[in-house]
Amino acid sequence: MNFTTSKREFFEALQKVIGVVPQKTTISILTCVLMDLDGDRLNMTGTDLEISITTSLQVSGHEKGSAAIPAKILLEIVRELPDVPLHIQDDSSNKIIIKTEKGEYKIATQPKEDFPKIAVEEGEFSFIMDAGLLSRMVEKTIFAVSIDELRPALTGINMEFYPNEIRLVATDGHRLAKVSKVNFPVKKDIHKNLIVPTKTMTLLMKNPQSSGVKIQIGEDHIVFYLENSVVYSKLINGAFPNYDRVLPKDNDKELRVNRDLLIAALRRVSIFSSSLTHQVRLILSSHEMTIRSEDIEFGAEAKEVIPSQFSDEWLQIGYNSNYLMDVLRHVDTEEVVFELKDGNNSAIITPAATEEGESILYLLMPIRISEETAAAS
């Protein structure tokens, strides 16, 4: 293998694959990226056995070949090099040599035969999705995923496919995010859901695209064909909870409030909340809401009043302020709408308006408020 490339292009490509290379692993070959040169095309692959990403770039190739190079040291040296041409070649002693005008850096490679082969099987079906729409839908849901490895089904984003609709849902059991797009042709008669690992989605978000993304779905995997990269990911086994069942049907009270005002007030008031629960209380009356918090341990408390419209006379409800702010940050409209029942049931939170064919919905469970605190205010 022998090729010449620019530092900048090589580094950019390397950064795309490095995200998947595991930091700690007992399988040492996984700490490498596989470089494969064919003509002027260099393919770089990283994998953690669950997810693989292959990115390709144009170089000036002199001699085809391939090598498995330890990713960390390669990234570190390339990062430190100025933007100069790099000559990269392997030698007979299983080393890779990076040459610049002034320097020469040798890295011992690992046997390339050991690098896992990613067998991309035939997919069941595939479709093209606008890159902007995909990243928008992921961005609106990914914050709600669970990090609890003991409930694996919640550690990914649930993708649902219908003939004319695509839907993404994420939940950690306390909050839920659901985004769907109708008038989106997927495939005739399709009715399927699959759970994509959060890491896969994070990788996608780090590879912004300008055009369409081809998505191929298989029995146990999903493949995203990006402009210069292919992301292959195993799916998470397990049943995603039946969230339709917990979508409240009898939330008869409505709250409308300015999103930025509420976020700003929450940011201040939540400083005074318990560092354990992050609990804030919203006390709603017809034309304004009071946001209160208190940290009994440190004798701190705060309150703020902001204008809002509430369809009922009075209601008090407690939330984890971080969860509430997470949701509000993902609402695009100036006004945000809460549909409520009481202080012990989930709120439906939506933007005041959505784009044609799009629906965005968040569910948030409250924190139980003690009777005494409730009576005191």
């Binding site: 306390h174 409250p366 139980r368 605190t373």
Partner: protein
């Protein structure tokens, strides 16, 4: 998830060890934490004693007067609950870093499900040693750890090499591990069942395992099925994060056995008041209200009632306790101890769950079981009988 790996950790002579740690001059001496011995006339019990005191035959829950007879030269210390809770929090905070699935079962004992997290520490043994070391560094105390495929085995394992023990039971070693153990180690086998089993020629768990499930079920009913499962190392209880205390209680041992009805009722009122005050302070609500009565002959009875809605109202709890007391057939026997307790606790400030009903019913059974086991000892109750917790009153004899 296929193979589970459960870790049980038990702090060695916890209260006594803390006292010895805080008072270096007591190290190496018999230290007994418990009620005031009043020169042998005290009426409370031993809470914990140091290993030095155990050498004299002193045990937890032994009347303090008996401890005095066995070891009058010991250092007697009144428990410092706040200090122990503080050390306990420190220990639990360390454990919490090793797995999100932590179930604290008492102030000095916890289960950890390390099925997935042990890989992060290159194996269970390394992980266990790290935990012990970290706890020792932070608190100066030793602990004993048992690791096994389920809770029952892990708890037995942690007890085998105390103090400072570490026992790992691999899945393929379960039978070899269980068979030679004395039958009394089987959870649910107590003073009542033990003689029966012995008459059947059963001395070890291995002896019991040779009986078929049907034979045991015929003889012991549902408990028989339970014994059979345990004797084969089967226990599928999950490790659950309770997040907070499971019960809160107040009890009082009379200086002299009391048989006066009015005085007993007054004591109950006082206990209810004190208990509900504490609950309100901690913003706790409970659904199950329990009355505990120990008669002059140490026979101990409990009566409880469970409500659908949690409460911490003094009036309701008092009224319930009074009714339970009225219904109890004391037959004028003198009372040694009275206690009131509230369990099935829920806290204000609790983050509510979206998919609560999927886990709640299992959770509830778990909570009842742990609560009862903790209060009345391992032998008092079996899983099957607990499924019938719909009845609003039940009693268990200690």
């Amino acid at each position: 998830m296929s193979e589970r790996i459960i870790l049980h950790i038990d702090m060695d002579a916890f209260f006594a060890a803390i006292e010895q740690n805080d008072h270096p001059e007591w190290r190496g001496k018999a230290v007994i934490v418990g009620a005031d011995p009043k020169n042998g006339k005290g009426r409370g019990v031993v809470s914990t004693c140091s290993y030095e005191a155990r050498a004299y035959g002193v045990r937890s829950a032994m009347p303090i007067s008996k401890a005095w007879q066995l070891c009058p030269q010991a250092v007697y210390v009144y428990p410092r609950g706040k200090r122990y809770a503080e050390v306990s929090r420190c220990v639990m905070a360390i454990l919490d870093r090793y797995s999100p699935d932590l179930e604290q079962i008492s102030i000095d004992e916890a289960f950890l499900d390390i099925s997935s997290t042990h890989k992060l520490y290159s194996g269970v043994e390394n992980m266990a040693r790290r935990i012990k070391q970290e706890i020792a560094n932070a608190t100066g105390l030793t602990s004993s750890i048992g690791i096994a495929p389920n809770k029952f085995l892990a708890k037995i394992a942690s007890d085998l090499r105390k103090p400072d023990g570490l026992v790992i039971v691999a899945p393929d070693a379960v039978q070899a591990f269980l068979q030679p153990l004395e039958i009394a180690r089987l959870w649910g086998v107590g003073v009542k069942t033990l003689p029966f089993l012995q008459r059947m020629g059963i001395r070890t768990i291995g002896d019991l395992a040779r009986f078929s499930q049907k034979e045991l079920a015929d003889r012991f009913g549902k408990s028989g099925v339970h014994y059979w499962r345990l004797a084969h190392g089967l226990d599928d209880r999950a490790v659950r994060d309770e997040g907070q205390a499971k019960s809160i209680s107040r009890e009082l041992t009379f200086d002299k056995d009391e048989s006066e009805e009015a005085a007993l009722r007054q004591t109950l009122f006082y206990l209810c008041d004190d208990l509900t005050k504490e609950m309100r302070k901690k913003e706790l609500y409970g659904r199950t209200i329990t009355l505990k009565i120990r008669l002059h002959d140490f026979s101990t009875f409990t009566r409880s009632r469970t409500f659908k809605q949690p409460t911490n109202r003094t009036t309701l709890i008092r009224k319930t306790i009074e009714e339970l007391f009225t219904a109890f057939e004391r037959r004028n026997q003198a009372v040694r101890l009275l206690g009131v307790g509230v369990s099935h606790l829920e806290g204000a400030g609790e983050q509510l769950q979206l998919f609560a009903d999927e886990t709640q019913s299992a959770d509830r059974v778990e909570r009842v079981m742990d609560q009862v086991r903790k209060r009345f000892g391992d032998r008092s109750i079996t899983r099957a009988s607990l499924l019938d917790h719909s009845q609003d009153s039940q009693w268990i004899r200690e």
